[in-house]
Each structure stands twice: as C-alpha cells, then as structure tokens.
Symmetry: C2
Subunit: 172 residues, 2 copies
C-alpha cells in the first residue's frame, strides 16, 4: 500500500511540469495569469517593457497622451527588413501616459500616470477575419469591454490598410 | 635573413590582437570607430537602439521634438531599484526627432527626421569635475563642438542636481 502511494506520488510530481506547460500554452501571446481581451483573447505579453522601441508619439486633446510603441524581436526584424505583411508571431505594444509638464524644464512634456496598454498580435489564421491581427486594450492590466474591442479593427482597416493595418513606422 | 624576416612577421602578427585591444580600450563607452565628444571623449554606444525605454518626452518650440530616453542594463537596474547616485557604467541615450503630423491620424504626432543623439556616461572618477557624468551630443553621428559641450553640465547641475543630474525619470 505504501509502495503504491509512493508510486502515485512520483507520477503526480513528475506530471507537474507538463501541467504547467499546458496551462501556459493556453494563454495566447503572453502571461498566463493576465486577463485576456474579449473577442481576440489577447493578453499583455510578458516582459514587453524590455522590448525595443519602434517609435514614440504624442496624441493631442482630448486624449493628451505621450506614447511609445515597442515590439518583440519578430516585429523589429520585420520593420528593419521592410517586410510586409508582418509575419505571424509579431507583437506590438503601445504604452501610453498622461502628459505632464516637467517640473525642471518648462518646455518639456514628460509621462505622467500610465493610461492604457494596447497590444496587437499577428496570427494570420487565428485572426483571419481582422486582417490577421488580434487586439487587446488594457487599463490597469485589465481588458476593456467588448464594445471597445469591436472598434479596433474598423479603425485600423479604414486608415492603415496599406501598411498591414499598422499605424506605427520604425523611428530611425 | 629569411628566418629573421619570418620571426619579425610572426611577432608582428602575434601583436595584432593587443593593438586592437588597445585601440578599443581608448574609446570610452562605445563604438571604437565613432567620433568622441570634445571635453568628455564620450561616443555613441554600440547597440543603444536595442536598449530599454526609460521614458518618452516631447519638447515644445523652438525645438519641437519628440524624444525617447533609453538606458543600458546598469541604468535600468538603478532606476528600478530607485538607486541614487547612478552607479559607474550607467549610460543613458536620448534620441530625438522632428515632430510630424501623422498622415493617417490627424491628432497624432509622430517622429520625423532624427535630430540629435545625446549620451550621458557615469564614471565618478573620470568625470569627477562634472558630477560623475560625461556628456556627448551628436548630429548625424558626429559630435557637436566644444562650446556646446561646455553647456551640458551647467544646465544639468542647475536643474537636476537632486536626481544625480539626470532629468529623466523611469516611465512606469
């Protein structure tokens, strides 16, 4: 009986790595613990703050934001090669902050509080109905509602179709 | 005679790695082939475009620029730990671009042509006279003149002394 219990315990412990791997594999493009966006199931990718800068931007009123788009290595490689459409596996993350006047330099505007994190994931099969892109818009790490997510592709399609539905160009 | 020539050739070839090492060692903090700034001898560091974003910024008229400060791993670690003064080996690079209205989104301002690259290198002994920082300001990869470099520390000292002479804070 003790031997049987020991064998069961060993089998159970040996399967832990597989169970963990399965759990992570089910979370698309990122952190398994993060919430996924409605419609697309996109999550905030792990480690995106370490990714390479694609370009900064500034958004006028009413949003009044400073922004920075970063990309994973697949994205950076595609930008540098001028490769369109972006290959599957491309992930772009747009970070955004309220604008704040620098207390030390009056002419400088610097980031205030973070506002949204917006993610685009390329998977030409999974997201075939939306140009190959899945979208996620997050506030404080949580996805916004489904209605907002329905607006993502419509705008990207109307304005940025010629660049594979992506607004941001690589800042050289 | 041939033996002597052969020996000389071998000695010469054997010394090549050392000569190369000396040449690289004399270029502070970066690419040995790049021009170094006057006064400080700071160069544009290799691979800085891959470095992590510290913060974007916007500069009003007359400069009218979008900017992004990136830092090497020593810089990022210090920012995340809230460690002041920044440790020796810290390098910060400020990239800057002309502002340009997005052709696809009227309210968005995006990077136009690159303007300057500005570098700060921390070496508390070498740059003891300027708060431990060496400065470099580059246009098209070439350092600007000595007169401009004389203004760097004066401004950082007058306005940012309380944060180890650094203006930029980590955007969270």
């Amino acid at each position: 009986m003790i031997v049987l219990a020991a064998i069961l315990l060993i089998v159970l412990l040996a399967s832990v790595p597989y169970l963990v791997a399965i759990a992570f594999a089910q979370a698309p493009a990122g952190d398994a613990s993060a919430d996924a966006s409605p419609i697309f199931g996109v999550t905030i990718p792990t480690g995106y703050k370490q990714w390479e800068l694609i370009a900064p931007a500034e958004e006028a009123a009413p949003l009044n934001e400073l922004r920075a788009v970063v990309g994973n290595q697949t994205a950076v490689d595609a930008y540098q090669a001028g490769k369109l459409p972006f290959p599957d596996g491309t992930i772009l993350v747009k970070r955004a902050w309220e604008k704040k006047q620098s207390p030390e330099f009056a002419s400088a505007t610097i980031p205030g509080a973070a506002t949204t994190v917006q993610v685009m994931v390329k998977d030409s099969r999974k997201y075939a109905a939306t140009g190959g892109w899945g979208f996620g818009r997050f506030i404080n790490g949580k996805p916004v509602d489904e209605a907002q997510h329905r607006t993502c592709f419509a705008c990207h399609e109307a304005r940025a179709k010629s660049y594979d539905y992506v607004f941001t160009r690589l800042a050289l």
